[in-house]
Amino acid sequence: MADSTEVPIRESETPTISIAVDFYGGLHTLFGKGQHKLAIPAADKSGNPATIGFLVTHLCETKMNDPRTELFVLDGHIRPGILVLINEADWELEGEEAYEIQSGDNIVFVSTLHGG
């Protein structure tokens, strides 16, 4: 699965990794739509592998079409009340923001609802 979705990497360009990012629970309105297929830089500016922490900043800077970033990020971290799942698993099991993103990963952000 991971291999088939990998994008060709050319040495001269910043390598990218292809991932799928999904938003639920109203978060999709901040990003225009719920399902995104993205090619993100494989490393941050200092050359460290792209982590979930990096992805969150990257999403805010490049994909968020609503300026209310505090609905997604607070104090540099995912705001409380948002679940993060990495390949269908709770991100706590994967190291949370430190998880290094792999090509083909599916990252899901779900905002907890309380109405009824």
Binding site: H28, P67, R68, L83, V108, V110, G115, G116
Partner: protein, 472 residues
Amino acid sequence: MTQRPGPNSVSAHVDNGEDVPDSGTSGASVSRRLTEEEFDRYSRQMIVPGVGKDGQLRLINSRVLIIGAGGLGCPAAQYIAGAGVGTIGIVDGDVVEVSNLHRQVGHAASRIGMKKVDSLITHLRGLNTLPTYVPYTFHINPQNAADIISRYDLVMDCTDNPATRYLISDICVLLCKPLVSAASVQKSGQLIVLNCPPTPQGRLDRQYAPCYRCCFKKPPPPSSMLSCGEAGIMGPVVGMMGVAQAGEAIKILISALHIPSQDHSIPLERNLAQPTLLVYTYELENAVGPYSFRALKMAGRKKNCFACGENSTLTLEGIQSGTPNYEQFCSLPSPNFTLPPDERITASAYHGARNRGEIPNHLLLDTREKEHFSFGSIDGAVNVPFGKLLTKAAAIKREGGAASDILPPVEESDVAEDTPIFVVCRRGLDSQEAVEKLKELGVNNGGKRRIVDIVGGMKAWKDEVDPAFPWV
């Protein structure tokens, strides 16, 4: 199943008023014949593979507590009552309002003003007179929660706020009750079965089901939280979640999974080893598909969980005496705006100034969503939805451009650089932030132009100026 019940059939239903029938064997397979009415009434579900007479008897001998008689509780209760659950408790302190009726299908126009619990029970008795219905016409709180929940086998969280959700889950952990939890707002819904099969607090010798806190460790800050009253809610979305809750509860009861795992020998593979969060997204933008249901796999009980984990200090006594403080836990500080008094005007003062001709030339920006604006607005108001205003402000900051571009197009002759701007929103929070944003962009022309917030928004306008205003 081929045998019709004879004249000696005994009904298990004892209607003893406010009291919940005490059944120490609740959920166990009680062997007795079904009454003729039970047989006729439940035949269509009993012949479904996996239900049968034993499954039906488990439902009849079960006690289910539905907390919340609103958009989730109404549809949930209909199916719980229809299926023949023997004792159904319903908790809610609210009364029926006309704005409930588009989704709260257990109420009726003729019962507006009645306690929701009484209204819903009236409706349920119309469907099925066999169950014992127990009304609790007040809200659940840390003082009464354990006493109420202890009388039931399974709890359905149909409430509408995080403080109550954490409270219910904590009590369910301590009393070993399975919890079927759902939530819905605007165009999204969620459903999860928690603490099922129920396992005593602190047990971690193998995989156990999570509680609400295992899945949702911290509540969202109040500023990012939407209620149905503010954000709206589509009836079928919340209805679907409520019906799905009933479906899950019925499955649990028929399978006897509500009995604490230490007391029975149900094989491991039936223990919902894979907790699942169902998320439903309803798109009004794409009227025809794609349908979006997604089942997200969730982790099991967490070792470090505050409620059910290894070293949890949570107790029933503690909860009753105020520890933890649920209200405080769920109302962490949010950015609360208050502009200085010279940048604010009350709705009645604004109205007075207009009438006296003191502000002949001014711009009135209404930052509510366009759906709200469509119901009515102050004469001359121009709609600039708050989200759009922020987006535009961000774009101007990023890409440059005239700050005045953020203002709606108006006749040049009407607007001078000192033409004051008044900003109004729904309740008076967004408008203050909008005033700040406009100043930040320099729309106030270095102080030559006043930018003023109308205190309390259109709610205040309705209260102080125009009682007939259609405020939502």
